[in-house]
Symmetry: C2
Subunit: 300 residues, 2 copies
DNA sequence: GTTTTGTTTGAAATTATAAAAAACACTTGA
DNA sequence: TCAAGTGTTTTTTATAATTTCAAACAAAAC
C-alpha cells in the first residue's frame, strides 16, 4: 500500500551507467548535481547512493564519494516491467466502445476496465472524468460511471460541432498565404484522391485513411488547442463508424472523393465561398452517413 | 480508510420518515421495494432494518416486519454535515485563478487546494483531469499538476474559438423561426441596452451582467452539449477579465452597447450577413480588450 | 560566502479496506 | 411450481492509510 519506487529503481540504474563511464577511484559529483542530471529529487539520489555503498561500489562519507569498483550487470535492480500500458488509453477506450458497439447507458465498471486495459483504477477514473467533459460518460447516482454513449442526439450534436469547426478551418485555409504548407499538402492530397479514384472498384476501403489525412490537413491550418483536442475525438469516432457501415461503401467513398476534390479545387482557386459551400455539402453527407450507420446498428 | 456511510445514514432517516407515516402495528414492505423507494441497495436497507430492530422500533423475523412504536426525533442518526461544498467547484476554482491572478506555470498542490476548497482530494484530481481537456491545466513530469494559465497564446486561442462558436450561433439565430423564444429575449435585451445607454455615465459597471445575458441568449439558440460546455468556461473567463480592466471602462462599455444593438438590429431585420458582420466586429473588440487587460496585468 | 550535506516537513501516488451494490442461491407461500 | 422474497456471497466503489518522493530548511565544510 504505497506508491511504486520505479523512480528510484530507474534512477539507480542510470546512476550505475554513469559510474560505468568513470574510472575506478574517481570522485562523484555533489548530490544536487546528480539529482539534476538524473531528473529526480535529492531524496532519491541519496537512497541510490546508500545502496551503492551497501553494494561496495562506492565509499561515501559526507561529501567524499569515491568509486571503489566498476559496476557489474548483477548490480542493476530489476524494473517492475510495465509496458507503458496507459499510454494511448483514450484510443483504446474509444476503440473498445465503437468496435464492440457498447450500447448507450451501459454502466462502466472501473474495476473491470482497469483490469482489461491494464491501467490503475485511479488513472481510469481521471480519464473518465476527462471524457465526461465531452458528455460521453457521466456519473451515476448510485456511484460509478456510465456510458452515455452514441445516441442519435450525441451524433447530431457531434456532427454539428464538427461542421462548425471544419467550415471555419476551410475558410481559414482559403486565406492562407502562398508559402503555407497547406498548399503542398493539398497538392499531394489531390494526387492521392485522383489515384484512388482510378482504382476505386477494388481499393475503395483505402478511402478511410485518405479521409483522415484530408481532414487532418484542413484542420491543421487552424492551430488552436481547443480545436485540436476535439479533433482527436471526432476523427476517431467518424473513423470507426465508417468502418462499420459497409452498405454502399464503394458508392459512398467514390462520392466522397468527388466532394473532397471539389473542396480542393475551390481552395486552390482561392475561392473561399465556393470552398466553404463545397465543405458544407461534404459535411452534410458525412452527417447523414453517420446517422444512418447508427440506425443500422440500432436495428441490428 | 473506507468510504463514508452517508448513504446508510440518509437512508435510515428517510426510512424513519416513512415509518412515521405508518400506523403502529403496520407491516413494512419487502426489502426490494424499500430499496427501490429509497434509491439505495438492499444491503443498506438491511443495515437500516437491523438498526430499527435494535432500537425496538420494529419487529423483524424473515419477511415479517412490523412497526412497534412511532419513531421519535431521538431515533434519527446525525449526518456528518457537509455543506455541498463540491457543488460549484468549477466556478470557485476559476474565480480563484482569475481573482488572484495566479500566474501561468504555477504548480498546483492538490492537497492544498483540497483544503482551501474543502473538497476531497480525489474529487479535485478528477476535476483537474477534466480541466486538462481544455488545456487549462496539465500534468508535471515530477508528478502533480500545474496551471498552464492565461498566457497570451491561451487568450488568443480562446478568443478565436469563442468567435467561431458565437458567429455560428448568430448565423443560426438569424434563421430562427418566428415563434422561437430568442425573439422575445432580443426584444427585452434591446430595451435593457437602451435603458443602460441612457444612464451609462453613472451605471456603466452594470454592463458586465447585461453582456453575459446577451451572449447567453445568443448562444442558447444552438443547443449543443459541446458548445454549452465551453460556454460556461468562456463566459466566466471573459466576465472576470472585464471586471479587472478598469481603464476606459465607461467608454468601452458604451461602445459595446452600440455593438450589441447593431447585432440585435441586424437579427431583427433577419439580415444574417449583417448580423454576422456586426458580431464579428464586436468579437474583435472583445478579443483586443481581453489581450490588453492581460498586458496591463503583466506589467502591474 | 557559497556550495554541499543532513534533517524535517509536506505532498503525490498507490494500495488496503469499509461501505455499498450486485449477483447468486436458497426459501416460502400463493 | 413458480414468482416474489430473503439470506448469503461476491464484486465494486469511495476513501484514507501508507510509502515514496520532492522540496524547504538548517547546519556544516570548503
Amino acid at each position: 500500500m504505497a506508491r511504486s519506487d520505479t523512480r528510484y529503481r530507474e534512477a539507480f540504474n542510470r546512476l550505475l551507467d554513469y559510474c560505468g563511464a568513470l574510472p575506478v577511484g574517481a570522485a562523484l559529483p555533489a548530490e544536487t548535481a546528480l539529482s539534476d542530471a538524473a531528473g529526480v529529487s535529492r531524496t532519491v539520489i541519496r537512497r541510490c547512493l546508500a545502496r551503492l555503498q551497501e553494494l561496495g561500489l562506492i565509499s561515501w562519507d559526507g561529501r567524499e564519494k569515491h568509486l571503489l569498483r566498476a559496476p557489474a550487470p548483477a548490480d542493476r535492480i530489476a524494473l517492475p516491467e510495465h509496458g507503458g500500458s496507459s499510454e494511448d488509453l483514450e484510443k483504446r477506450f474509444l476503440s473498445w466502445i465503437l468496435r464492440f458497439d457498447v450500447p448507450a447507458n451501459t454502466p462502466l465498471s472501473v474495476a473491470e476496465l482497469s483490469r482489461s486495459f491494464d491501467v490503475p483504477q485511479h488513472e481510469l477514473k481521471e480519464f473518465l472524468a476527462g471524457l465526461s467533459r465531452f458528455g460521453l460518460v457521466g456519473r451515476r447516482k448510485q456511484g460509478g460511471w456510465m456510458l452515455r454513449g452514441f445516441t442519435r442526439e450525441f451524433a447530431i450534436e457531434l456532427s454539428d460541432f464538427r461542421s462548425v469547426l471544419e467550415l471555419n478551418a476551410v475558410a481559414h485555409a482559403a486565406e492562407a498565404p502562398i508559402d503555407h504548407p497547406i498548399w503542398d499538402q493539398l497538392d499531394a492530397l489531390r494526387t492521392r484522391h485522383l489515384a484512388l479514384k482510378q482504382r476505386i472498384d477494388t481499393d475503395y476501403h483505402e478511402f478511410s485513411k485518405l479521409d483522415e489525412s484530408f481532414h487532418m490537413a484542413i484542420n491543421g491550418v487552424v492551430s488552436n488547442r481547443f480545436v485540436a483536442e476535439f479533433q482527436k475525438v471526432i476523427s476517431l469516432i467518424f473513423h470507426y463508424h465508417y468502418m462499420w457501415d459497409k452498405t454502399l461503401e464503394k458508392t459512398r467513398n467514390a462520392a466522397a472523393i468527388e466532394e473532397h476534390l471539389a473542396i480542393i479545387d475551390a481552395l486552390e482557386a482561392r475561392d473561399g465561398n465556393a470552398a466553404v459551400e463545397a465543405a458544407r455539402r461534404h459535411l452534410k453527407t458525412s452527417k447523414s452517413t453517420l446517422l444512418s450507420s447508427l440506425r443500422h446498428h440500432d436495428l441490428g
